[in-house]
Amino acid sequence: MIGHNTLVVLLGCAALGVAAGVVGSFALLRGRALLADAIGHAALPGVVLAAMVVALLGGQSRELAPLLLGAAVTGVLGLLALRRLTASGRIRPDAAIAVVLSSFYALGTVGLSIAQTLPGVAQAGLSSFILGQAATLTESDALLAGSLALGCVAVTAALFQPLRALCFDESFARAQGLPVRALDLTLLGLLLAVCVAGLPAVGLILVVALLVVPAASARLLAARLPGMLALAALFGALAGAGGALVSTRFASIPTGAAVVLGGLVIFSGALGLSRLRRA
């Protein structure tokens, strides 16, 4: 039987998968999907720092909201660092992403080893942020992540038309006078929100996969964007909930890994199906 808490966690992870599929689809079509990887890694020092601050203030370091806030703050710092590095055009985006994600991650790991020697922080289970552990989520954690994710879906759905126009043809969108910069910033904000919401369950290393794999699978099968979004949402939900279910049954398997492996099965199926159709 599935207990009440497990059910809430599964639903939270499914909501997260839906959001990752939808937001990831636009990120993929805009060529920005790898930014999720940078955000995820850049979030670690923020999580650690937030846990330390909460512990120092005598608070409950198990509380999720401040940790996610910390993750968002250094996630933004990571994005700003990326922008700074690539602004001159002398450093290519792929090199810049590698530099930013590894240095923030290294910083976070060092912080983690310090934090775990501090009283009151050791219990926080911060290392579960790295690979994700849905089983340790409380009901309110899952609700927080789930509602954040659904908020992202609502914003994306509302901006469907202009986002599609931007992703297909940026220069035409610009020539039409669409607010390209604001739309790109919104998309980045959505990416950040999904990454942060996904950290506790999926973990920072593999959150990029939840954003990319369902979207990439859906793209193989759908001829139009509404269909791609619906499929990506479905695939994301299946991978998210399936991964969470596996890792709550087998506590030694991190949720992130289970989610990605589930996503990979879906991706293989999509690839096979698209080849069959073309043949």
């Binding site: 901006l159 126009a165 039409q176 793209r219 001829a223």
Partner: protein
Amino acid sequence: MSAPPLDITGLTVRYGERPALTGVNWTAAPGLTAILGPNGAGKSTLLKAALGLIPADEGQVRFFGLPLEQARPRLAYLPQRASVDWDFPASALDVVAMARLPRTRWFGRLPRAEREAARAALAAVGMADFADRQIGRLSGGQQQRVFLARALAQEADLFLMDEPLAAVDVVTEQTILAVLHGLVRAGKSVLMVHHDLSLVQAHFDQVLILAGRVVASGPVAEAFTEPAIARAFGGLPGRTPTEAAA
């Protein structure tokens, strides 16, 4: 006399250190204008800089006597076909309907009237039967006609087109030329980056010949001369108007 569709003063654009356009002064006349010049002459750059898609280092651009922001609803743009990913999950109608976005609210489905306007634009380029086809499954010429339909759906007074006749089939070339002449008859103006000198005398009213700066401009009969072509193209054999028209 009303303001010209496009008036450019002292336009200079550099890519890093390399100048792409230097001190361009040009006033477009109404009608169908071909923008000619060798590769790297700054033809596409001129359109993009005029539309604010790339930053200009110096210069002023006015459309119908107005700055870009105020003139935008009267402009249509047709980028190079190769500038987008045609595997994008969209139908021909989806792409054309994007032109109607500034006229509608963003939220929810595109209103029926807007979708009908997009369908009419597709029909105008002979693509009515392909409205629901995924754009990646269209031929190159059909894709080019979808781009033209999208520009038509903008219902503009001035059309800026970047090589709509590049590498298209005969049917598409005929269709596009017919549509362009129809626009001009309806009082619209078209500025078109173009590379096939053989079509100029038969189809265009005006030319602008570029080679990093203005080499010649004006009515075809006056400006489309062998010396001007030779200066722009560096006297390449086989590119003179007489030979090209032969």
